[in-house]
């Protein structure tokens, strides 16, 4: 099911680096028997990997030098979240696993330190996607960790006689996600129960954040596998209420469950409200939930053309991002069926699939060449401008294979990319609502599947050579800038007082 990927600039040299999560060796011949769980991560083959980008665009494996060589022997790597949780100016990493999760503090000198025990964020169980966000707007990034199922090797089972298949998630009990509140002293408090997050047990795989009802507080969407989806509304008092059914995002418009895997929470039709797109299994369709305002969404997979593009595809990591800088967010999806023998069961489906790249033409999506026509078992996907040319690139992980880097060939359209620096708000500016020339973005590195993307906020400007920028920081500070020249990276520091 893994693995995750993060695009982050860990050494603040202005270039995105790549962190890849590896699985591990399952040391059990007979799952389901009296198997003792053990995952060999000492062998370099199973290390997570950090690749530092060099000035010439090549990458160097700095895993060992960075102190990330071994993830221990009691976990199987899944995903990654990336953010500067302690506001020290350096991006940290949180690696999820089946087993013990790890928080790596970035020491600012090219190395990381495992601070999990001190921080109190090991979680346990089967963690999948995670993300940093500031749910209480106190200027400190909190952490949400989704978990998939109640499962362990001893209670594993296989389904189907011939051919054997993975069991449906319905065969295993659901489990709640974990919310950690950042105390600001390097430690976190588990507020899952107090916040109401633990009250809903799911089968989560993906998570994304946005303020869907524009009340100034970050809400959470959790993509669940084979059951209703969750939309946790942030009540603004440290608690959440799950409202997916009322909001119209729990099921499809036919009332059917989907096998939610990846998710993004962004405004695809430039109406200023964040929408939701969820990737799922073949024979379903990727779900598009359009934000109608007033806390309600409508299912728009058919009208957007996404249903027609995804009926026989299984999607994982994904993002709504303006790849051609025309002012409309396009869609990229890492694809491939979950079962490597799916062709034996349904000849119309495929384990290996090419990724989907669909361009947004005024709110309707049309397939285009992704640049990689070969089918692959795509899983995680992270998005960012690797070569700082103003055009968003993609790195996709491949199950059992080498990751794929999609360099954006670029074009003539203009763009603007903002690096936010919070002062009253969290330093990364996560949760800021950024509006540029009628488009909107929600600042976050979360979303996709198991992955963390470039935290800079990117806009395509089409023919415009300048932009009007409005940033509503999580602190409530509103910052406006007019006539910002296009085609540049702009660091925006949150003012101490509203301007």
């Amino acid at each position: 099911m893994g693995g995750g990927i993060a695009l982050l600039d860990y050494n603040n040299d202005g270039l995105l680096d790549v962190f890849l999560v590896n699985g591990g060796l399952v040391n059990s011949e007979h799952p389901g028997a009296q198997a003792k769980e053990s995952f060999d991560r000492a062998n370099p083959r199973y290390w997570n990997r950090l690749f530092r980008q060099n000035q010439d665009g090549s990458f160097t494996d700095v895993t060992k030098a960075a102190g990330l060589a071994s993830a221990g022997d009691a976990n199987y790597g899944m995903g990654v979240a990336a953010a500067d949780y302690d506001n020290d100016g350096f991006t940290d990493l949180y690696v999820t696993s089946y087993g013990r999760n790890i928080l790596y503090h970035n020491n600012g000198n090219g190395t990381f330190t495992d601070v999990t025990a001190k921080a109190g964020v090991a979680a346990g169980g089967w963690s999948v996607s995670a993300g940093f966000f500031d749910f209480d707007n106190d200027g400190k990034l909190d952490l949400l960790v989704t978990r998939y199922l109640e499962w362990d090797l001893m209670h594993s089972k296989s389904c189907g006689l011939s051919p054997k298949i993975y069991c449906s998630p319905s065969e295993f009990p659901a489990v709640s996600s974990v919310l950690y509140r950042n105390r600001g002293d390097g430690t976190f408090e588990d507020v899952s129960a107090a916040s109401g997050i633990a009250a809903k047990k799911g089968k989560a795989l993906g998570v994304a954040f946005a303020d869907y009802d524009d009340d100034g507080f970050a809400d959470i969407f959790v993509a669940n596998d084979g059951m209703e989806q969750f939309l946790f509304h942030n009540n603004g008092n440290g608690t959440f209420t799950e409202r997916a059914l009322e909001a119209g995002v729990a099921f499809t418009d036919d009332g059917k469950r989907i096998s939610g895997m990846g998710v993004d929470f962004r405004d695809y039709d430039n109406d200023g409200r964040p929408d939701i797109v969820v990737t799922d299994l073949a024979r379903q369709s990727y779900a598009v939930y359009h934000n109608e305002g007033h806390g309600a969404f409508s299912y728009r997979s058919l009208q957007t053309g996404i249903a027609a593009l995804s009926g026989v595809s299984s999607g994982w990591g994904m993002r709504l991002e303006d790849f051609d800088n025309d002012g409309w967010k396009d869609l990229f999806v890492a694809q491939g069926h979950v079962m490597d023998n799916v062709e034996q069961i349904d000849a119309g489906l495929h384990y290996l699939e090419p990724p989907l790249l669909a361009m947004n033409r005024g709110g309707r999506f049309e397939r285009t060449e992704s640049g990689w026509p070969e089918p692959a078992a795509g899983r995680g996907a992270a998005f960012g401008d690797l070569n700082n040319d103003g055009w968003t690139d993609i790195v996709m992980t491949v199950l059992g294979g080498k990751p794929l880097v999609f360099r954006n060939r670029g074009g003539a359209a203009h763009w603007l990319t903002l690096a936010l620096r919070g002062t009253r708000s969290n330093r990364d500016g996560f949760g800021a609502r950024v509006k540029v020339n009628g488009q909107s973005q929600y600042a976050t590195s979360a979303g996709s599947y198991l992955s963390a993307s470039d935290k800079r906020v990117h806009f395509g400007l089409r023919a415009a050579t300048s932009a009007s920028v409005e940033i509503i920081w999580p602190s409530g500070v509103v910052q406006k800038m007019d006539d910002v020249p296009a085609d540049r990276f702009l660091t925006v520091v949150e003012p101490e007082r509203p301007r």
Partner: protein, 349 residues
């Protein structure tokens, strides 16, 4: 049992006391399903009265009860030799022969006694499919809920269909229909490329064949190739403007592509051609809802619920109605519909 006792009564006055005692004991044992005991008693009866047909009928029936159909054949045949007009004996012999695998030999006996159910089965086993279908249909008309009869009728029809198709392929291997059959076979085997090729060849040979575009369209629809599916369904709808299924499929293909007003038009046409079809009405409601006409959606979905109370479409209709009522701000009605939806969902519908 009644047939046997009729025979026994006929024989009553001519047989010896011992034979009659054995007959009675055998009959009692049969009643109590003591097959082995019945066999022994009837066998002794045949020995005591070798010319008594009832003793042989009883022995045959007892052997059948014990599962020895082959063994039952000889005594039943002997009974008929002694009295060819014994109706119960002939029926039993027909059953015994059929059960022992001698279907061909069973047929004349079953024909004579007009045992249509067993006769149909015997004819099915001997490849006389047309006759089998006629007799099984007649038998099913007398016993409408008989699942065994339904099974045999379905099997006979399937075999006849296959046989006819084989004949068609032999007679006209390059005919449009032969390619259509091959297309259907490939489609069942999920060989999309093969099926597509055969359907296209069939269409090339006979472009106006009803049903061909529909089948090709369904092939594309299964692969989510909606544009291609739309083209084929449209061709079928043009060819057969009165065909509700073609209109429905076309409407659905349009809907899948988000071509909502066109989809709605076709689905309305389908609904007009075949009123009262729950799946058409559900899709029509969905198209109306997407087209921004909640009143029409409500009407269509309520009509679905008039037809289907508990099925999957009912659940979907309740879910859709909840959305309509929520949109209108009628929380109470929305909640009621959602509860129904959840109830059906829990029930696995």
């Amino acid at each position: 049992m009644s047939a046997l006792w009729f025979v026994v009564l006929l024989a009553w006055q001519t047989a010896s006391n011992e034979a009659l005692d054995r007959l009675k004991a055998g009959g009692d044992a049969l009643k109590q399903s003591k097959a082995a005991e019945a066999v022994a008693e009837f066998r002794k009866a045949t020995e005591a009265a070798p010319e008594l047909p009832a003793a042989f009928v009883g022995l045959g029936q007892a052997l059948m009860q014990s599962g020895d159909y082959r063994g039952a054949v000889a005594p039943l045949q002997r009974a008929l030799e002694l009295n060819p007009d014994l109706p119960g004996a002939r029926q039993l012999l027909g059953f015994a022969l059929l059960a022992a695998g001698y279907a061909n030999e069973a047929i004349p006996h079953l024909e004579k006694v007009r045992a249509l159910d067993a006769l149909g089965v015997a004819q099915l086993k001997t490849g006389k499919l047309t006759e089998a279908i006629a007799n099984l249909q007649a038998a099913l008309a007398q016993r409408p809920g008989d699942v065994d009869l339904m099974y045999y009728l379905g099997r006979a029809s399937g075999l006849l269909s296959r046989q006819t198709f084989e004949q068609l392929r032999t007679t006209g291997p390059e005919s449009a229909r032969a390619h259509q059959i091959l297309g259907e076979t490939y489609a069942v085997l999920h060989n999309t490329a093969g099926a597509e090729q055969e359907y296209k060849e069939a269409l090339r040979l006979r472009p106006a064949t009803p049903g061909l575009h529909l089948e090709l369209g369904e092939l594309y629809a299964a692969e989510s190739q909606w544009e291609k599916a739309e083209k084929e369904f449209r061709a079928e709808a043009n060819l057969q403007p009165g065909d509700a299924e073609a209109a429905f499929r076309l409407g659905n293909a349009l809907l899948q592509q988000g071509k909502v007003p066109d989809a709605r038009r076709e689905l309305e046409r389908a609904s007009g051609l075949a009123p009262g079809m729950a799946d058409v009405l559900y899709a029509l409601g969905k198209a109306a809802s997407l087209d921004g006409d909640p009143a029409a959606a409500e009407k269509a979905w309520l009509a679905v619920l008039d037809i289907e109370k508990d099925g999957p479409l009912a659940g979907q209709a309740h879910f859709g109605l909840a959305g309509v009522y929520r949109q209108r701000g009628n929380a109470a009605k929305a909640d009621a519909e959602m509860k129904e939806f959840q109830r059906l969902q829990k029930a696995g519908r």
